[in-house]
């Protein structure tokens, strides 16, 4: 549904997005994670035909993002919630949705029906004639989602939809996104919130100008964050330390506990334990621990910072 191949955006000498390649299937939630200035918003703006691409190719539902003639067709296919909700505060919720419904060529009867449906879904129907300026942040965010859905688009781009929301409002928005997934909509989600990405996304890309990792949350945790074997010893002797160091592994020692980061603990544990036993070590317990999405994210972003 959404494809990008070597997508690049440069602003003068500054490269905002570099050689981004990704594919989002129909009905999938794709999360784009990255620190501030990583190029997430620029990516969404390129895909929504708001700004041009410098190099590469991208398409939405087969329509070419760089093609002027396809741009209007793409905009009709997508719903977009920018990081700033961008609602007309002097107008009512109904007026805001009606305006966008007209712009998206939704016929009168269908428009009224859609407005009622989305406002009821988001618990805003009672407030339909109230000026948006009086709404809370959570209500505005929900209304921005309603606006993005007014023409019933198959693809949604959400740029940090829960940023600055309180936990309750965030949960409402997240639940609604899951509801949209059930309706088989394709969702491209920019977020800072790792927990949100873990819960919502089928696939995640970690972006820091260029794409640093791509996969399901589980794959990223296992492959990028890696896993570790934790060995609790009765006493960490010099001989055991020496034996472990000779194995040249990535490990951390805290008192009598040794944490060794491994790509495949099941395969490598026997050799490690063998070395410990031969050095006279007495093992109290061993455990294989997985890393979290946060570990994977921080590992990639910090590595980037060090480089």
């Amino acid at each position: 549904m959404i494809d990008a191949e070597n997508l690049t955006k440069k602003f003068g000498n500054l490269t905002a997005v570099d050689n981004l390649t990704l594919h989002v299937d129909e009905g999938e939630i794709f999360g784009l994670l990255g620190p501030n200035g990583a190029g997430k918003t620029t990516t969404v703006r390129m895909l929504c035909c708001l700004i041009s691409k410098t190099e590469g190719k991208a398409s939405i539902a087969g329509y070419d993002v760089g093609n002027e003639a396809d741009a209007l067709k793409i905009r009709k296919l997508i719903g977009f919630v920018p990081d700033n909700v961008g609602l007309y505060e002097a107008l009512s919720a109904n007026d805001n949705l009606d305006f966008y419904g007209k712009l998206y060529d939704v016929p009168d009867a269908k428009r009224k029906e859609n407005i009622e449906r989305v406002l009821k879904m988001l618990d805003l129907w009672e407030k339909k004639d109230v000026m948006v300026g009086t709404f809370s942040k959570g209500m505005k965010q929900k209304l921005a989602l309603a606006r993005a859905l007014i023409h019933d688009p198959p693809v949604l781009f959400l740029d940090e939809p829960t940023a600055n929301l309180d936990p309750e409002a965030s949960k409402t928005v997240r639940d609604f996104i899951l509801e949209l997934k059930k309706q088989k909509r394709t969702i491209f989600l920019n977020t800072h919130n790792l927990d949100e990405a873990r819960r919502l996304c089928d696939k995640i890309g970690i972006l820091n100008t260029s794409l640093r990792a791509l996969g399901s949350p589980q794959e990223l945790e296992n492959n990028v964050g890696g896993r570790a074997t934790v060995i609790q010893l009765e006493q960490l002797t010099d001989a055991v330390q020496e034996a472990l160091r000779n194995l040249r592994l990535d490990m951390t020692i805290i008192e009598n506990r040794v944490t060794i980061r491994l790509a495949n603990p099941e395969k490598e544990n026997s050799a490690i334990l063998d070395a410990v036993f031969r050095a006279g070590g007495r093992v109290q317990s061993t455990a294989i621990v997985g890393s979290t999405l946060e570990d994977a994210y921080l590992k990639l972003v910090r590595k980037e910072a060090i480089e």
């Binding site: 602003f11 703006r45 929504c48 708001l50 700004i51 041009s52 209007l72 067709k73 905009r75 009709k76 997508i78 977009f80 919630v81 920018p82 700033n84 909700v85 961008g86 609602l87 007309y88 505060e89 002097a90 107008l91 007026d95 305006f99 966008y100 007209k102 712009l103 998206y104 060529d105 000026m131 921005a144 606006r147």
Partner: protein, 241 residues
Amino acid sequence: MRLSKSWIIAQKDFKTFRRKKNVLYTLLIVPIMISILIPVVLLATHIPVDHLTYLLPAFTFFYVLLAGVVPTTIASYTIVGEKVEKTLEPLLAAPVTDGEILLGKAISAFLPSILAILGGSVLFMVLSDVATFKSLGYYFFPNLNTAVTLFMMVPLAVLMSVEWNVVVSGRVTDVRVAQQLGGLAAIPFVLIYVLGELNFVQLNVTNNLLIISGILALVDVLLFTVTRRTFQREEILTKWK
């Protein structure tokens, strides 16, 4: 270019103006005040007939000055206001072209301004005729020069002001700053008025009014090309402050 899309945008702006009373008051107060004040002064003072036939066209030219100033309120609000409220991005993501948005914004600034100015001028002409009939012995308004001024120069001046305000709006982030800079559109008309007062330009000669209208039309075309270059999706999202 689909006019229906531009009209949807303009209608939305009209609805917003109705809710923003300050925009509405600023739009109406100056034309109404001038339109009442001048005839009241004419009625209260005894101006000689030969002076009256000179003064009344000069007063009519005030509406060209107004055409430079009045659209500033709305044009700056409709563009800078959207920028400040960050409503441009979802609008730009909708299936409308830059030209359609620009035309919609131009209509929403042009129509209320022209209605306010022409409405004010009708009031001015009626009241002035009432105030001067006794002295002149005939109704001075309407006449050919007034028609050229109001139906050629005023719309062209309003258009120029709207275009100038679009250009200014791309470079400022505050509605009041936009209004102040936008008001500079009136300067050429002030100069023409002063030149008229100094007898360098006869503002009661139809040909002169037509020449000024022609120049204004050229300036409008030039400004339109600048406006089209300024009002581009990517430019708005990445370069507008």
